[in-house]
Symmetry: C2
Subunit: 308 residues, 2 copies
């Protein structure tokens, strides 16, 4: 019965993501900020933290990634991908024509401007600290309506005026579930690995070299982001997500190569992909574990004079 | 006397960035959103748009980048880098011990939690749509204090309770000034070029190839970010910033190579760097314009049978 810490209050997209992963007996703990959710795991007050890492509609992803790159290491054991679709909650029995004010996180409001213009054109828009905080504000009478994650409707005694709202179809937001380093989830054949590498920016082409180490081993990159290191002009952190599991030879071999080339490599986990890869994630010819084993045996034979 | 559209209301970091670039006679126009600032230039209602492209404390950078990648092209003619340092504005003569509520954009509040804990520990924190909207809320009595960009103090009749506030030293935020495509700013010897490329993700190593095209020509990458294309699983956009000007042979040669390799390349501008490069931005040996000219003459001679 692990406890999962997430960015609260109750009813955020972070909670919705945590519930995708949680079992019936797991307890979910809302935290005041994303870094506080990570800190709870580091301090042993929670078993897992569920935090947004891509295209967040609440909270800054860059701050989350910075918090994962420093302090005590945490590793991801699962990812959750959610569609960016909102619900609009109102006080019981309030009809759309009586909604004068609507609140949400500014990033959420920005993503439903089309729907608001068509459906609540006269409502004044107000910022809230999170989508769930907007629902709390409807409860306490601060405003009439809140743009929230669908899960918020299960926590607060409010009516659902509309649901499934998205100005842009197909947008998704992505979360990781992180815990203390320990036994890794086993390979499933469709896994993803996340790392943070620190490299000197003054060496032209360093990133091309790192990505070539992955490409040479048939490893497909699924995300990359650079962040300048604060106070260290000329040093960069790169966040990389790629297909494969660290227990595969090709991935282990690539990570060892990055470790030789970089000032620092932090392993952020190997975990099952939430969605199957658009193409096969199987290692290309020459990059399977069997290929590595055969090549190792051949090399050993060359070295001990029994083969060639 | 160009007009510059920026994310308003008056007093945001976007306005502060626009003022770094603006002349005394330029007019600055606050817009309701970042995409609206870009739309004003596209519609001919403003000459320039000043928008956040990195580490924004107001508004989502990913939405800005998406807006630059589609619709009518715009090109950057300048960049502005600002330190992330806030001011705290209060109603005239209000002392710190009487501040009960403090407001700002949630991303700004997140970056001054240390200062607030030490200086306004009892103040309730409230979200606003922007740092400047928080100042407007102090004026109209919604709350007692606002965490804002320094420039907000010049617009609103409020007292500056504190200034230069930053929990983390050395953080910066970056803006681009964009206009209709036309004559480009000339090379200065310390320039940056921005592009968006679209590539098929199923080809393992495509990004390594693109970055190698830059590295082979001695071009230093300063920023990279990937964005999945909505509704097109398996296609990615990459945002790249690198040293050099499109009028340099090495940069032009690299861009032409990317155009051969990618489904789409959008040029977002070549403009003077706001800060000098940590290392020289000069083309490395073999990559100067003179090197390109000499190599071209030699090749022409080989082809017409007069050299070798």
């Amino acid at each position: 019965m692990p406890s999962i810490a997430y960015f609260g209050p109750r009813g955020t997209f972070s909670e919705q993501a945590a519930r995708v992963h949680a079992g019936a007996d797991d307890t979910l703990e809302p935290m005041r900020t994303v870094p506080a959710a990570l800190a709870a795991v580091r301090a042993g007050e929670a078993d897992l933290a569920c935090v947004p890492v891509e295209n967040s509609v609440e909270g800054a992803v860059s701050a989350t990634m910075d918090a994962l790159a420093v302090d005590e290491p945490l590793v991801a054991v699962a990812e959750v991908v959610l569609p960016v679709r909102f619900s609009v909650l109102v006080r019981p029995n309030l009809t759309a024509d009586r909604v004068r004010t609507v609140a949400s996180h500014p990033h959420a409001l920005a993503q439903v401007q089309g729907w608001l213009a068509a459906n609540l054109p006269d409502a004044a828009q107000t910022a809230a600290n999170s989508t769930a905080a907007a629902a709390v504000g409807v409860l306490d009478g601060s405003w009439d309506a809140a743009v929230t994650a669908p899960v918020a409707a299960t926590h607060y005694p409010l009516d659902v005026l509309a649901t499934g709202i998205a100005d842009v179809e197909g947008a998704v937001t992505r979360f990781l579930l992180l815990r203390h380093p320990g036994t890794l989830p086993g390979p499933t054949g469709s896994d993803r690995t996340s790392i943070v590498v620190t490299a000197a920016a003054e060496r032209t082409g360093v990133l091309a070299e790192l990505l070539t180490e992955l490409a040479l081993r048939g490893i497909n990159l699924s995300r990359i982001e650079s962040r300048p290191l604060k106070g260290r002009l000329g040093q960069y952190r790169f966040y990389l997500d790629f297909d494969g599991h660290v227990h595969e030879q090709r991935v282990g071999d690539a990570l060892a190569a990055l470790h030789r080339r970089c000032q620092h490599v932090r392993f952020l986990g190997s975990y099952p992909r939430a969605e199957p890869s658009p193409t096969s994630t199987a290692a290309a010819a020459g990059n399977t574990d069997a290929d590595y084993a055969a090549a190792g045996e051949w090399l050993a034979a060359v070295r001990n004079g029994t083969g060639g």
